[in-house]
Symmetry: C3
Subunit: 210 residues, 3 copies
């Protein structure tokens, strides 16, 4: 059952990130297959890094379903939005939030399955959740969301902490996942709609720039 | 014979990408060994990612000839162009096109040898062909060619499709390679000289920007 | 004894790079855990790439002490500098120089232990020393130090050459390390304080830009 959940969640996460990459790539007016490149890198980047770090077979080589999900999601997205007026950036951020929440959980789980400690697993979750979007932003020459959005990596980490807490309280597996997803998406939505900002780690003294 | 072709093609591809990296790095007026860093990353980046993804020994560690080819090509390029006036960007694009065509084929073949399906192999070819140049552009803070050039990843993919088609038609090995190389280079030259653009995946509705 | 030195040096290098990443991330006014992300990527990026290239277990997964050193260094740095006025960029460059010098040596050694030739080992040292800072600069959208600083990769390479020379002269292990560290840091300090520039590989003809 674990493996089933795992594959299902991963497929959905891959599709969401593929959509976010296509939306940004399309918005940048990249011609031809460039959109496919950006979408694929976004969808597969985080999980690929996770598998390489854990010394596991890369997921989309071991199981090409992930490639079909990626290419399918990119194709449908592009076919759909090319007939629409400009799509608001809000949808990209929304799709990215859901993808990040899912990949965070998937990354934590895969690390725990490989027998790492919780600290390593949380790091792996953030890596998996953030890296794909980071490459997307670097390729598209956007300020990475990690830097621009106040409540981005913090939301990812909060979702990870939720998973870890529920996990250590022996809450059933499925609820660990649902709890983590809800916390991350909830915080991201709060940031997008109400401008929530964490005031962590910030300068206490006013900053003077010339 | 396969392995011989393979090594020979790889060496040439590495040298071409090393030249393209040195040309761009030198044009950016990077001092000292920075040019060597940019050139090496360009030459070795795509193949390194390919080998990591396929869980193979990294090619330039297994066989240092590739390092010598890289450093040699960088050295000769720099020694040569430093005595010339500004080199046109056209040469960089030309060299990049040939390197991409070669790495595409090499990536597809290496994946097929490892027993992947054709979809994974085509993805691996594009990864190998595009990734080195992508890192080069990111380090040099250029708009990546994948985004800027209309017919870039599309040319790479067309070369891959050519290889796949000839391969499935049982055309002899050497002609699969030659066909793929010709298609990719031909399309890139067409884009450079005649401004060919694919009109795939583009907005159908006019785009309004404020 | 080798392994002890190795771990000790690596921990210090990781901490220094974590500080350099936090300094730059904080200077960029990234909110929340973004600073932690930038700091971690800087601290762990180079060594992670080295281990992946050498097909070794990734160091911070095999030994979570490195994660604690990273997070500890980031936390202390941020807690400290948030109560200070703007920290000069000089400290970031200084910390980066020491981190690079250490990672260079560590990378060379780890490669030699794995039985690579000296050319591969020097390449691996530069990879380990430069890559973390390079990702830091790309994420923070700074011109990478490799491109901006005249004597950066050259200082790294000079440190590597020093190590190789002393190593081939059968100088005791510890002195190879110390010699390499001193040369790299000395050259970087010279560049920072006195503007030393290597005049390698540069254009001989004047460059005309319109």
């Amino acid at each position: 059952m674990t493996a089933e959940y795992f594959n299902f969640l991963s497929l959905i996460g891959v599709a969401f990130f593929a959509i976010s990459g296509s939306l940004l790539g399309h918005d940048k007016d990249i011609g031809g297959f460039g959109v496919v490149v950006v979408g694929s890198v976004t969808a597969l980047g985080g999980g690929t890094l996770r598998d390489i770090l854990l010394n596991q077979p890369v997921f989309w080589i071991a199981n090409p379903d992930y490639l079909y999900a990626t290419y399918g999601a990119i194709f449908v997205t592009v076919m759909f939005i090319r007939h629409l007026p400009d799509v608001s950036n809000y949808y990209m951020l929304l799709v990215d939030a859901i993808g990040m929440a899912i990949f965070n959980v998937v990354g934590i789980e895969k690390a725990l399955i490989e027998g790492t400690t919780m600290v390593v697993a949380l790091t792996m979750g953030m890596t998996t959740g953030i890296f794909g979007g980071l490459i997307r932003d670097v390729i598209c020459r956007e300020v990475p969301l990690v830097m621009r959005e106040e409540l981005y990596s913090t939301a990812c980490f909060a979702g990870g902490l939720t998973y870890a807490t529920l996990f250590l309280l022996d809450v059933p597996y499925l609820w660990c996942i649902i709890g983590s997803l809800l916390v991350t998406v909830f915080l991201r939505l709060g940031a997008l709609h109400f401008g929530w900002q964490p005031n962590l780690f910030r300068k206490r003294t006013p900053k003077i720039r010339d």
